[in-house]
């Protein structure tokens, strides 16, 4: 009995981060182009059998239904409905595909795991993704080794693994098990409207000094220089803080954080980065943004009221319908502190993301594996790029696709980065850390707490997590 008849509390929400919270795991720092040497634990032939038939390596039975659950977020559901499902259907015409596309995965699908009847194929993404650590810890997911070692869709001489950008498979490993396909290749940066900038002859800054100098000019022009949406996208800002710390102190900084090393948050690189961004928050941000959502702040950027907005490479596509004609998305990187930085300005946070999993209790595992193989085919990946304007983890998937200005600038940045690619996992691996980091980031950026308090509370949360034996820990090698 609540005060009134709406007896049990209700969960509705539009607290929706666009992609934010659950963008897949990531690649070990050096993994991306550092050619994932070794890693070849090939061939564990197992019960569902690797038939060796390049057309149907997993032995899918035509006629077995396949249930596909797609997260209806930044990439929508169209790519599944219009590209991959028809491809599957063409191969197995008698099989019926049951498609659904919820926006809250854990609300709708978690109970089905609990009940032992999960779908065959799941795009476990979004702000309400099911905690991957729990899924793995409980043995709820199928390992994908069979997929990686299967012949690729287009060339039977190559394995599926050979067709992927190195590091992709590792990015989906938890607890030493490869359980997740990270399909979309995501690059993180700070976004602006290149049309507006060239009109004002503003140039995206490369150093902290240039940043504050430019922000002063932008502010004088009556535009809010920098913004992120505190209500549901605090993740974007701690991404910036951590990326900046990685540039200052090297990828080691992030690795130590991921591995919950003692004092990982108390190093100078973190403190410097926090200090700088807290200063930006105090001087160049709009206090109201703490209470606004991603789409609301994006609208302001589209209207020319906000200059810079940190986000991932899905942003442009996600906003496509709302973007005015004179708005040209472009991406720049987190600025450098100075010459003593371990990683130069071109260093970039990039990772394979957007997770897809196959439940261990899926009824049609062979079908789900085949579905993944289809997604990773040349056609499957290329059409995805064309439809969604985002890069995939398949090598050369953007060949022949006309990239939108934003995606093109992201790709350029990625190419320029060379080996300086880094990422972090802490928030994906540990839900508690994610919560604490988001809260602490908002408190810092909107002036409720200072740097020392940030460091203290986040370190404390990490220490507590480390001591908690009930939570499985992952390690970056």
């Amino acid at each position: 009995m609540s005060k009134t008849p709406d007896l049990p509390g209700e969960v509705s929400r539009r607290t929706v981060i666009t992609r934010a919270a659950a963008i897949g795991a990531a690649i070990p720092a050096a993994g991306l182009l550092g050619a994932c040497a070794g890693g070849g634990t090939e061939e564990k032939k197992s019960e569902t059998g690797n038939t060796g038939d390049a057309k149907n390596p997993f032995g899918v039975k035509d006629g077995d239904p396949l249930e596909v659950v797609i997260f209806n977020g930044g990439y929508g559901e169209k790519y599944a409905k219009d590209i991959h499902e028809p491809m599957y259907k063409a191969a197995f015409p008698k099989s019926e595909i049951k498609h659904s596309a919820p926006t809250e995965i854990s609300t709708t699908i978690q109970p089905r795991f609990a009940g032992g009847n999960p779908p065959d194929f799941l795009n476990n993404s979004g702000a309400k993704a099911i905690d991957i650590g729990s899924l793995v810890g409980d043995g709820q997911l199928l390992t994908l080794d069979k997929l990686w070692s299967a012949p690729s869709y287009d060339d039977p001489k190559k394995t599926v693994k050979d067709t992927l950008i190195p590091g992709t498979i590792e990015s989906g490993e938890f607890d030493g098990k490869s359980v997740q396909l990270n399909y979309v290749f995501t690059v993180y940066g700070i976004w602006y409207n290149s049309a507006l900038f060239s009109k004002n002859s503003w140039v995206a800054p490369k150093t902290w000094d240039e940043t504050t100098a430019l922000f002063d000019k932008i502010k004088a022009a009556g535009i809010t220089p920098y913004a992120y949406a505190g209500a549901n996208a605090a993740y974007y800002q701690f991404e910036v803080i951590l990326s900046n710390a990685a540039k200052i102190g090297g990828a080691e900084v992030l690795k130590n954080i991921d591995n919950l090393e003692d004092g990982a948050w108390q190093v100078p690189a973190i403190k410097d980065s926090l200090e700088f961004w807290a200063g930006i928050g105090a001087k160049y941000m709009d206090k109201a943004h703490e209470g606004l959502k991603h789409t609301e702040v994006q609208l302001q950027q589209n209207q020319g009221k906000v200059a810079f907005y940190p986000s991932g490479s899905w942003l442009e596509n996600e906003q496509a319908k709302e973007t005015p004609a004179d708005f040209k998305y472009a991406m720049t990187l987190v600025p450098s502190k100075g010459a003593s930085d371990k990683i130069g300005f071109t260093g970039i946070h990039a990772t394979a993301g957007e997770p897809y999993v196959i439940p261990a209790k899926a009824k049609n595992q062979a079908g789900a594996l085949e579905y993944m193989r289809i997604m990773l085919s040349k056609k499957g990946a290329n059409e995805f790029v064309k439809l969604n304007g985002s890069l995939t983890s398949v090598i050369g998937s953007s060949d022949g696709a006309t990239l939108t200005p934003g995606t093109a600038s992201a790709k350029t940045a990625l190419d320029a980065a060379g080996k300086d690619v880094f990422t972090f996992h802490i928030n994906d691996w540990y839900a508690d850390m994610n919560t604490e980091m988001k809260a602490a980031t908002n408190a810092l950026m909107f002036g409720h707490q200072n740097v020392a308090q940030f460091v203290e509370r986040v370190q404390k949360a990490a220490d507590k997590l480390k001591k908690d034996s009930s939570i499985k820990k992952n390690k970056v090698k």
Binding site: T4, G9, V11, R14, A114, D131, N232, D432, K438, N442
Partner: protein, 301 residues
Amino acid sequence: MRHGRNPFIVGFLAAPVVLYVFFVILPYVEAFYYSFTNWRGFQKAEWVGLDNYKKMLDDDTFWKAVSHNGIILLLLPLAALVIALFFAFLLNVGGKAKAGVSQGVRGSKFYRLVFFFPQLLAVPIVAVLFQSVYRPDKSGVLNGILGWFGIEPVGWLIEPKIALLMLIAVMVWQAIGFYVVLFSAGMSSIPAEIYEAAELDGSSPATTFRRITLPLLWGNIQTAWVYLGVAAFDAFAIVDVLSNNQGGPDFSTTVLSEEIYKATSAGKYGYATTLGVALFFLTATFAVIAFTSTKRESVEY
């Protein structure tokens, strides 16, 4: 006439009790069991003894949540009851007496209709409405109004000091209509002669209210207080859908039920049920105290 008494009792109770045991009691009993395990929401649940309970007592957020429930428990019933009583009084006996019978103020029919509206809205709808009302820039309804007076926008839900109060205000907003009706009901059954007598004695409305209405309504008020108190222990819906970052900013509005929900979505079912058990005992304690302390006299008239 005793014949058929027992079959009748059994017959009438069987269906409701079976349904209730099956769909309500059973899940709760299972949940109690899970509070001693590390259940992750799937199949396996390992017994971990009191670990979850130790962790809970050690958790700052837990205590924050409890204290917020406490604040709501103090403010929600108080505000809702005082306002609802005031309105009900105006609507029933506030107007000029007609033919010796006390009337509500002018427009009381309209008010009764309108005040009940918030009751008709599902929480997802209330959430959308109040997100618009509280929006922290000039596009928010409240800040738009303040803007006319040249006042800078206020971050209603992002200032940690006021965010919880703003949420409580919504709960009060939603609750008032129902209690106005409830108290109106009580008041309209108070015999008109009593009010006439009071009026003849030259008693002011405030005095009438204090000396007559209040004591005669005491039973209703006590019931209302219990309802609202239990509601204060829930408070989940509004906190979850309306607050910044589900219980934020920075945990300044979180309540126990919200923490349960978050633990659940993080896959910590075992721990979530532990929090649930704590909530259960808090609510139950309140309910027992409230029921026993309100059991005594209710004024007869």
